[in-house]
Symmetry: C2
Subunit: 692 residues, 2 copies
């Protein structure tokens, strides 16, 4: 008997001899393609039996000991036990986001003593295999062994916790008063007697009123009523009540035995089209106890929101919803594991994301977002319960979702406003968020105009051969020697380069333009015999890093096609600036500040962004790089009721300008497809081709 892979609460005798995992009855016959492995989904059990299922009694009998380093936990398991299962039994947390079906490649272990029976996999590199790495979920125990959690996995765990400290230093103090949606109130209730026979719930309400909590507009669900009697008696009438406070009604979401032993946690989530960021926050002091991020698994359905909507129309919204939920839940689990806390303690959630991402996450129909007149189903969301959404936090956790003013300017932008405070101050500010798309807000405390400029995902790495997010191994800075025209680069984490991120691409193109490697049309101007010029599939490319230096062991090239992608993106952004200013009856001289948000990397070089015509050629002091403002706003809304109220006001105050059929925008877009711009007088400080 063993625990079912998908339903750990069930013991089951069915052991798959092929994959060495236990599966319960339900899973064996489940038609859900996400459970376990695909060939099982359409075959009845006798078919599976032929494929290698046997009763566990045939394989158990003798036991083997498994020790886990570096911490030394150990466990005795029957021979034939899956190694991931053995780790679970030993209380060793291994990251296994695919839940043990051998798809994510995360549950790596190094076998230091003894041998295991392991399946071949393409998810380990040759170097790893040579170093005795195995995937725990693909291995079974055959004898006494000692395994080690790889140092990089330990390091990752430390890093996720460490990132929390890093962002804490950036964010702490941004919220004046912590005021969560769900508050926890510890209570010591009067012990009942024949003279005081009020019902349990009334006794609790009386205790709450004594603690100065209003109860006349309090609601309570059946689940809490069902657990109430036991919870109140478990620790002799000492309880902690969790109360979800809404505008018009409060709700009791949990009554737990004992007085306030469990600190309350929250998560702020930025649901990006490409990247999802999760901050795990201590709700008492606002500290970020862990911060992590990952690729949105919906990426397999296309890079941009339109492709995601098309995919949802074909495959159902639920599928896309499950993909993003799986990503978020993995990240929450990773953050909770790094901070060594229970996910059930998370009772507050704040989410920011663009309109499509939020619709898909919540399973709401997105198809009319892409059809004229481009309507979202919902633009302002009530507080939702985490259990309804499918988030693996406390099921009663309150979920705040940032409202969005339009189909193509969503809650992530409103979140950016809350973070930046643009709507609170007088200076005329141009805010631009360059993520998978580009959204602009022009305004101040009196006016907020917004538009979306279809920049595409190039700056996040989409549509660029070696483009990637600002992660370890990404080239983030580039210089080109004006004499040799060879590139020098720096990577995040000083590792061998794996690709090039947004800030690296801006540096690169700027340097290529200024050193004459390319011409203002984005074509390679260097002689084709130059060692840095490579022709590949009839397209010319510039050699950024030779194979010997890269992590892939392959040349890292930047082709004319890649340059063209970046030029289209930067042209859309610049055209967005000029068109929106014109709509407002202004030009760049009226702009006091330019705030840039997005995942370019840690540093954005404004001079270089100007030199390629992404940013306007105005006083450099006016520019500020905000980093990811959407997660910053989510963090603030998580903690502050004032910010949540402000979010609704900002969303309603924004005037949306639709560029989709705007002739001026199309003209500006065409003019901007040049380095830096066809109208060179707009870029007086840019001197191109200095090395020619």
């Amino acid at each position: 008997m063993g625990q079912c892979l998908c339903h750990p609460e069930k013991d089951t005798p069915y052991l798959c001899m092929k994959d060495n995992v236990y599966l319960c009855d339900e899973c064996l016959h489940c038609r859900n393609p996400e459970i376990y492995c695909k060939y099982r989904t359409s075959c009845p059990i006798w078919f599976m039996e032929k494929r290698g299922f046997k009763d566990s009694e045939e394989v158990t009998g003798s036991e083997a000991h498994v020790s886990f380093l570096p911490d030394g936990q150990s466990v005795a398991v029957p021979v034939g036990t899956n190694l991931l299962e053995a780790a679970r039994q030993a209380d060793v947390h291994l990251n296994a986001s695919c839940n043990g079906r051998g798809a994510c490649g995360k549950c790596k272990l190094i076998v230091e003593r003894g041998t295991v029976n392991t399946q071949t996999t393409t998810l380990l590199t040759e170097r790893e295999k040579a170093a005795n790495y195995v995937l725990a979920c693909q291995s079974t125990v055959t004898e006494d062994i000692t395994v080690r959690i790889p140092p990089e996995a330990v390091a990752r765990k430390l890093k996720v916790a460490g990132m929390g400290e890093e962002v804490t230093s950036k964010l702490l103090g941004r919220v004046a008063e912590i005021d969560p949606m769900v508050v926890e109130v510890p209570l010591e209730l009067a012990v009942p007697s024949l003279d005081d026979p009020v019902s349990d719930l009334d006794r609790l309400y009386r205790g709450l009123r004594k603690a100065k909590v209003e109860t006349h507009r309090m609601s309570v669900g059946l689940k809490v009523m069902r657990e109430l009697a036991a919870a109140m008696r478990d620790e002799n009438w000492m309880v902690t009540a969790s109360i979800l406070r809404r505008r018009h009604i409060d709700e009791l979401i949990e009554v737990a035995p004992g007085k306030g032993k469990t600190p309350s946690l929250g998560v702020a989530i930025d649901v990006g089209t490409t990247t999802i960021v999760v901050y795990l926050v201590d709700m008492h002091d606002g500290r970020v106890v862990a911060a992590t991020s990952g690729h949105n698994r919906q990426a397999s359905c296309g890079d941009d929101v339109i492709n995601r909507i098309v995919c949802a129309e074909k495959n159902g919204v639920r599928k896309l919803s499950r993909m993003v939920l799986a990503t978020i839940n993995d990240l929450i689990e990773e953050a909770a594991a790094a901070a060594d806390v229970e996910r059930d303690r998370i009772k507050n959630v704040a989410i920011s994301g663009n309109t499509t991402m939020v619709h898909l996450l919540l399973g709401i129909e997105p198809r009319y977002i892409r059809r004229e007149p481009y309507l979202p189903t919902v633009s302002e969301f009530p507080i939702i319960k985490a259990g309804e959404v499918g988030l693996k936090t406390h099921p009663g956790a309150a979920v705040f979702v940032y409202p969005g003013p339009a189909s193509y300017v969503g809650g992530d932008i409103v979140s950016g406003m809350i973070y930046s405070g643009q709507h609170r101050e007088a200076p005329m500010t141009m805010f631009i968020d360059i993520g998978t798309n580009g959204e602009i807000v022009l305004g101040n405390n009196e006016l907020l105009m917004t538009a979306s400029c279809s920049a595409g995902p190039a700056f996040e790495g989409g549509g660029v051969r070696w483009g990637m997010r600002a992660e370890e191994g990404a080239i983030e800075k580039v210089n080109i020697d004006p004499k040799t025209r060879r590139a020098r680069y720096e990577t995040i984490g000083d590792l061998a380069p794996r690709g090039i991120c947004g800030s690296g691409m801006i540096d690169l193109i700027s340097e290529m333009l200024l050193t004459g490697v390319i011409d203002p049309r984005g074509r390679i101007a260097l002689d084709q015999s130059h060692p840095c010029v490579v022709r590949q599939d009839d397209v010319l490319a510039y050699l950024v890093a030779p194979a010997a230096e890269t992590a892939m062991g392959e040349d890292l090239l930047f082709s004319e096609t890649d340059i063209h992608s970046i030029m289209l993106s930067k042209a859309a952004v610049y055209a967005g600036f000029t068109t929106l200013l014109e709509q407002a009856g202004m030009d760049f001289s009226a702009v006091d500040r330019v705030w840039i948000s997005g995942g370019f990397g840690q540093y954005l070089n404004f001079d270089r962004a100007i030199s390629i015509g992404l940013l306007p050629d105005i006083d450099r002091d006016k520019f500020t790089y905000l980093g990811n403002s959407s997660i910053g706003g989510a963090y603030m809304a998580l903690l502050s009721g004032k910010m949540r109220a402000e979010a609704r006001q900002v969303s309603n105050a924004m005037t949306y300008i639709d560029f989709s059929s705007n002739v001026r925008f199309m003209d500006e877009f065409t003019s901007a497809q040049f380095l830096p711009h066809t109208n060179i007088t707009a870029f007086p400080s840019v001197k191109i081709g200095r090395a020619s």
Copy 2:
């Protein structure tokens, strides 16, 4: 292929050859003992296969025609099809509360032409079998057949609808203004355009505001948001919004396409310990469109609330909850079928029941009700959603549950107050509800004192050999010839007697006492040689109806043990009266009115109830028999917000007097265990033994 028995939405190839029903994969391996049949719950599929599962292709091939009388529907089905399934395909509604597992015996059909393959069953009588009755769910089609729905089933359906008309005449007009919890608002929304691109939800809210519905405190769940886009476009922006109005917040529970085509329905439910009553109500005009009642299936766990609590402690609250839910859902289905409406149209529910019944129904811990200091977990309930409770109405239907002031005086009594109006008027009124227990309220518009007097279920038939509810075949009136001492009786529906109901028992004991058949101690005083005296198992009994006359073909006897049960019950009620009056500093002379509620039968003879000492010997004009006041109050709360608010006020205004450790009550109880009473001066008008 066929429809799964439990999941009609699924097609499945698995046909059970033993029982001729289709079952889907999930059911085949389900461990839920309520699904289909018990031997399957613990065996894997190959075991079942041996038991007779085969692929349907082996048994299909030829078809047979099935015609249903009296209405003549017909259908062609593959040979081997289950007859209940054939009825479903022909759109013939058969009552099948056990969902086809051969346990309820309700899906009776008479085979008039041809033969079917049918399983033996103990649920049909020999007479029925001789008349070609079969259970549809236990029969399969083998050739062309004609079957008839038995006249008694047709009659029952007509009766359930007819009962509705009957109670309508009694109830209509009791509520001044119909004001449901869930209202339906038909809307014709503006068609969106590029100039009017608000989100679907905002468009709906705008439409609601135009229809004078406040939206600023409106909440909406994910389910509605998910269905919104399609619902709004299905009938060209015409929709009907269903809104649940609560004290502090409103909730959008459904947005359906089209403008108000579906009249809204509600159900009022009286959840008695023994009997459950359901009224199906048209929410527009307050008409009861069907009324039905049935035995609470929890009865298998004991007669009274204490036994039910003990059973819940042993077997889990969920089990008891499922039993009562099954009863209620069957009754709702029966009522909906009689009125020919969809259950999904039921969007309002009002429930009254005693504290234990309500706890068990909602799955809330009842164990502290029976332990000092006798605490309910909850005494005042928020509006709950039907889907949360498990009621098979619209899942978003609003459920109002009557609040109860104490563990042993519950919402059914508050409901009785609302129905009777005792708390609205000045005359000092004694209200008594004699159901499975006896609860008394003494008071008027200034004072409400209440107590519970442990009367036991004798008047509802519990603890009495031939006792039964006031149903067809129950003896409801008895006279004893003073000369021959033989009984003459009348039964409900003029049928052969099946038992004796509350009013019949009162008549009987009164007549036995007055004609000297028994003495004031309740012992048989008649000579044992008298043909009406029977000794059975050493206990003397009086012959009410000889075997030749009864439906059972057995003597209907009333023994000294039965008499003793009734005497204990009536003594508890009378002791309750006197103790409560004493607590209030009054005696019977202060009582202006006595209102009696309970399931005695259609008529309660006050003279006779006085003569056995159940009611006090005061002016007969002061007495009124209310019938079932609890269901009456549930009906009123279903329709009226004023009544729902009043219910909360009444519950809070009641002062509960605990008799459980009250010495005066014990004394009074002992004194009252005599016919009519040990203090005969309190019953001046009772002349006993007139025939001796």
